[in-house]
C-alpha cells in the first residue's frame, strides 16, 4: 500500500511544473506555520521539531549518499562536530550560538572534507566501512577526552536559559520556527541543487563514474562539493540539536544508531529525491517517538526492529524508498 501511495506521489510530483511545486510547498509551509497557533500539544510539537531536524539531516546525508552515491555510515561525526563546536563555544567561551552554529557547520564541513579526501578513492562498501570506522574512532576518543567533558559531555548553564545570546528557549515554540526554518531553507536548497549542474553531475557520477569521467567530470571535485555541503548541513543540525536538548554527550551524539537514524530517514523516503528525506523523517520519527513513549524499558528497541524490517523490505523490493527514483528496476 505504502508503495502504491509512493508511486502516486512520485507521478503527481513529477507531473507538476515548477510553479505548482512552489504553490504546493507554500501551502504545506503555511499549514505547518500555523500549527503552533492552533495547538500546543507537547508531544506533537516535539515530534514535529524532530521531524524538521531529522528531515534536514536526511537532506544532508542524501546529498552525499543519495545524489553522489557515497554511502556514509559515519555522519554522526559531522553531527557531533557541529554540536560540540556550538556547545563548546558557548559554554566555555561565552560565544553566542548565533555565531556558534554556523561555525559548527563550517567545522563539520572541514571534518567532512578531510574524511572525504581520505576515503573517496574507496569503492562502495569500502567507503561505507571506512566512514563507519572513522565514526567509531571518534566515538572512542570523545568518550575519553576530558576537555570535551568525556563521557559526561557538556551541559548548558541553566542560568542562561531563555536569553537571546544563548539562543535557548523555555518552550518548544521558538525551536519549532528556528529548526523548521532551517529545514525549509535546506529543502529549497536541495530543490535547486537537484536541477543544477551539481545535481546533474552527481547523478551522473552515481550512475557510471567511468562514463562521467569520460565526459570530463572530475569526480573527486564534485564528490567533495557534495561532502562539504552534506557535512555543513549535518553540522548545523548538530548545533541546533545541542540548542534544543541543552546537553550533549558522546553517547547521544556519536552512538552508532545516530548514523543509522540519519540514513533511515533518507532511505525510507526515497534516496536521491528532494522530498524523500522529509517524508522519511515524517514516517520514521512519528513511529520512533510513538514506540518510545508508549513502549517502555526493554521494549524501546522494538521501534528499531520494525524499522529493520522496513529497511529490509525496501532493500529487497523497493530500493528507491517511498518516492522511488529507481522506478522499480535495477540499474546500477
Amino acid at each position: 500500500m505504502a508503495t502504491a501511495v509512493g508511486d502516486r506521489l512520485t507521478t503527481v510530483w513529477t507531473g507538476l511544473d515548477r510553479r505548482h511545486h512552489l504553490a504546493l510547498a507554500a501551502l504545506v509551509v503555511g499549514v505547518l506555520a500555523v500549527v503552533p497557533l492552533v495547538t500546543n500539544n507537547e508531544f506533537l510539537m516535539n515530534t514535529l521539531v524532530l521531524i524538521f531536524l531529522f528531515g534536514t539531516m536526511g537532506h544532508g546525508w542524501n546529498i552525499l549518499g543519495g545524489y553522489a552515491g557515497q554511502v556514509s555510515l559515519g555522519h554522526a561525526v559531522m553531527f557531533a562536530a557541529g554540536a560540540y563546536t556550538t556547545a563548546i563555544l558557548f559554554v566555555y567561551y561565552g560565544i553566542t550560538p548565533i555565531v556558534g552554529i554556523p561555525v559548527g557547520g563550517v567545522v563539520a564541513a572541514v571534518v567532512g572534507l578531510a574524511l572525504g579526501a581520505a576515503t573517496f578513492r574507496l569503492r562502495y562498501h569500502y567507503f561505507a566501512m571506512a566512514t563507519l570506522a572513522a565514526a567509531l574512532i571518534v566515538r572512542v576518543i570523545f568518550f575519553r577526552w576530558e576537555w570535551v567533558g568525556g563521557a559526561t559531555g557538556i551541559e548548558y548553564p541553566f542560568a542562561e536559559l531563555g536569553t537571546l545570546a544563548s539562543l535557548t528557549f523555555r518552550g518548544n515554540l521558538p525551536y519549532y520556527y528556528l529548526i523548521g526554518g532551517f529545514a525549509l531553507l535546506t529543502t529549497l536548497f536541495v530543490y535547486v541543487m537537484d536541477r543544477s549542474k551539481l545535481g546533474t553531475y552527481l547523478k551522473a557520477i552515481n550512475m557510471d563514474q567511468a562514463a562521467a569521467e569520460s565526459a570530463g567530470i572530475d569526480a573527486f571535485r564534485y564528490k567533495s562539493y557534495a561532502m562539504g555541503l552534506s557535512s555543513l548541513i549535518t553540522g548545523v543540525c548538530g548545533g541546533l540539536y545541542a540548542q534544543y536538548v541543552l546537553y550533549i554527550d558522546p553517547a547521544s551524539t556519536l552512538r552508532l544508531l545516530r548514523n543509522i537514524d540519519i540514513i533511515m530517514v533518507a532511505i525510507v523516503g526515497g534516496i536521491g529525491t528532494v522530498l524523500g528525506p522529509l517524508i522519511g523523517a515524517g514516517v520514521f520519527i512519528t513511529v520512533r517517538e510513538y514506540t518510545r513513549t508508549s513502549l517502555s524499558g526493554t521494549q524501546t528497541g522494538l521501534g528499531y526492529v520494525i524499522f529493520g524490517v522496513v529497511l529490509l523490505f525496501i532493500s529487497m523490493y523497493r530500493p528507491g524508498g517511498i518516492l522511488n527514483r529507481y522506478g522499480g528496476r535495477w540499474d546500477d
Partner: protein, 268 residues
C-alpha cells in the same frame, strides 16, 4: 581538403605515409607499452593523428586497439611510452584531465546515464571550469551551451528526444547521443570506439555521412573499427596493429591490402 590521398592509393607502398596530409600532428602516441600482470597488451605502439584527418586503427582481436584507446584517454596509465596532444605531454593523466585537455571518446557499447534525460546527458558533457560550489548549485547551463546542445542533438537527429530518459533510446540512438555529447566538448580529436558495432546498416550510412560532414568542417577523428568496408569508406589514414605493436600504416587501400595484414588476420 585534408584528403589529398584520395585516388592515389594504388600508387603507394603500404608502409609509406608520403602521400599523407602534411598538416600538423594533433595526437602523437609514441612507443606505448601496457602490461597487465605478466600479459603485454601493448608492445610499443606508435600512432600519429594529423589535423583534419580521419585516422583509423584496425587489427585482429587482441591486437591492443581498445587498450591503446584506454591508455590514451587515461583510463589507466601506460607502462611506458608517451602520449602528446598538440605537442603537450598528457601521458598518465586521469581521464577527466585528458578530456579537459581536448580528447573525447565514445564507447563500443554506448554508455549513457540511463535515468537522466537526453538533454541532461548532454549537460554532463558541458565544459567544466573551476566553478565554485555555489556556481554549480545555482546554475544549470549557460545560454551558449544550451544552444550548442540543441545544435548537436539536431545534428545527430535526436532533437525530438531531448526530454526523454536516455534509457528509452535504442542502442543506435545511444551511440548517436554519445557522439553528440562528445562533440559538445569541441575536442581536438574525437576518439570513436567501433562506431558501427551493433548498429543497423541504415544507421551505419548515417554515421559515415556525419563523419564526412564533420571532417569536411575540419574535425579530426581517431577511430577503432572492425567493419573494413566502413574503414575504407571513411579513412584518410589507417594504422594496423597486431600483437600490441604497429604492423603497417598507410592509405586505406594500400594498408588493408598489405600481405602482412592479411596474414595477421587470417594466417594464424
Amino acid at each position: 581538403m585534408s584528403t589529398d590521398t584520395e585516388g592515389e592509393t594504388e600508387a603507394d607502398s603500404a608502409t609509406t605515409s608520403a602521400v599523407r596530409t602534411d598538416a600538423a600532428s594533433v595526437l602523437e602516441v609514441d612507443g606505448l607499452r601496457k602490461e597487465f600482470g605478466g600479459v603485454t597488451a601493448l608492445d610499443g605502439a606508435s600512432v600519429e593523428v594529423r589535423e583534419g584527418e580521419i585516422c583509423t586503427l584496425v587489427g585482429p582481436n587482441g591486437a591492443g586497439k581498445t587498450t591503446l584507446f584506454n591508455c590514451v584517454m587515461g583510463a589507466f596509465p601506460p607502462t611506458a611510452g608517451s602520449v602528446r596532444l598538440r605537442g603537450e605531454e598528457i601521458t598518465g593523466q586521469q581521464t577527466h584531465e585528458t578530456v579537459q585537455s581536448g580528447l573525447s571518446r565514445t564507447y563500443q557499447i554506448p554508455r549513457v546515464f540511463p535515468e537522466l534525460t537526453v538533454r541532461a546527458n548532454m549537460e554532463v558533457n558541458q565544459r567544466h571550469g573551476d566553478e565554485s560550489v555555489l556556481a554549480t548549485v545555482f546554475r544549470r547551463t549557460d545560454a551558449e551551451t544550451e544552444g550548442d546542445i540543441d545544435r548537436w542533438l539536431e545534428f545527430v537527429g535526436l532533437a525530438s528526444m531531448a526530454e526523454a530518459e536516455a534509457s528509452e533510446l535504442s542502442t543506435g540512438q545511444q551511440k548517436l547521443l554519445n557522439i553528440a555529447a562528445a562533440l559538445l566538448r569541441d575536442p581536438d580529436v574525437l576518439l570513436l570506439d567501433e562506431p558501427t558495432a551493433g548498429v543497423n546498416p541504415g544507421l551505419v550510412d548515417d554515421i559515415a555521412g556525419m563523419l564526412a560532414e564533420l571532417n569536411e568542417a575540419g574535425r579530426t577523428f581517431f577511430v577503432v573499427e572492425h567493419d573494413m568496408e566502413f574503414v575504407r569508406r571513411i579513412s584518410d589514414h589507417v594504422y594496423v596493429l597486431a600483437d600490441g605493436t604497429n604492423l603497417v600504416d598507410g592509405p586505406p587501400e594500400a594498408a588493408l591490402n598489405d600481405p602482412r595484414v592479411l596474414e595477421s588476420y587470417f594466417g594464424r
